[in-house]
């Protein structure tokens, strides 16, 4: 699990450094990934590679905050699972062809991209619960819980929180 966290964390940090931004839209643009907003109902987002070009399709009804998270998640698929997406798209909120492993990895990537260690650690030390921290960081409780696991893995003395590995379902 250690190497795992590290690999994903490193990938996220490399991009943050390269583009001087934690904003998944900025990074996607920098990587030449096309982002499309489509009116959808349940489907939150889709990542697909077509003839070598990468696409992130976002549900325009998600709202800004959720779309930032979904975009970061799809970016995770791009960085970690691009090869797989050539044969079939990767979509969120579908049981069809969903591998829990892949989803967890994309969520780990998203939480590393969107949340910086110190800020979250500080909030935890201040005694806030994950709901509150999620509000403060404008993310999602599950992402915060995942971040806790990262921090614990890095030696912080926190209690690992329960999380839903496929919360973007």
């Amino acid at each position: 699990m250690d190497l795992y966290f590290k690999k994903i964390g490193d990938a996220a940090n490399a991009l943050i450094k390269k583009f001087s931004s934690r904003n998944p839209f900025d990074i996607a643009a920098g990587l030449g990934i096309h982002i499309m907003f489509v009116p959808l109902s349940r489907l939150k987002g889709v990542y697909k590679v077509i003839n070598g070009s990468s696409f992130i399709i976002l549900n325009q009804n998600n709202g800004e905050k959720l779309n930032k998270i979904v975009c970061a998640h799809e970016l995770g698929h791009h960085v970690l699972h691009r090869e797989l997406a050539k044969d079939g798209m990767i979509s969120e909120s579908v049981i069809y062809d969903m591998s829990r492993q892949r989803e967890l990895e994309a969520n780990l990537f998203a939480c590393q991209l969107l949340l910086d260690d110190e800020t979250v650690a500080e909030h935890i030390k201040e005694g806030f619960d994950i709901e509150k921290i999620a509000k403060l960081t404008e993310t999602d409780p599950n992402l915060i819980a995942l971040k806790c696991s990262f921090l614990v893995n890095q030696g912080y003395d926190f209690i690992p929180q329960e999380y839903n590995t496929v919360f973007l379902k």
């Binding site: 489509v38 696409f55 399709i57 979509s91 069809y96």
Partner: protein, 135 residues
């Protein structure tokens, strides 16, 4: 009903033989045969329109929106594009096969993928001009 079945019915309704219809449309009678057997579909929209006109039916009564999308792809980019488009649409349809998702989403997603396909193609062409293709 499939395109093949719709075609056959429309032709019989108009009391035309396959040869007569072929003449009206300007194709070989074997083409009509292949279409009615379900082996092939009209390769472009022009042809579909001619066929529909000869049968006095609207074009979209013979072909679904999806068929027309594939046909248009074929027109713009040749048989390969038509095949690629068909594969993409099949993928999306498969996604919705479980019944978990809304049908309107399917149409919107297909439209988005159609757009994406042509963006990808244009990008690929630009790269090919520069001497290096992505795929």
């Amino acid at each position: 009903m499939t395109f093949a079945e719709k075609l056959r019915k429309a032709r019989k309704d108009k009391k035309l033989s396959q040869t007569e219809l072929a003449e009206l449309v300007g194709v070989h009678y074997r083409t009509i045969q292949n279409w009615e057997k379900g082996h092939r579909k009209p390769s472009n929209f022009e042809l579909l329109k001619k066929l529909a006109d000869s049968l006095s039916v609207p074009a979209d009564s013979l072909c679904s929106d999806v068929d027309i999308l594939i046909m248009t792809a074929g027109e713009k980019g040749g048989p390969r594009a038509a095949r690629d488009m068909e594969a993409l649409i099949t993928e999306v349809t498969g996604l919705f096969a479980g019944g978990e998702l809304a049908e309107e989403d399917k149409d919107n997603l297909i439209a988005a993928f159609n757009k994406a396909y042509w963006i990808a193609k244009a990008e690929n062409e630009k790269l090919a001009d520069k001497g290096k293709k992505k795929t």
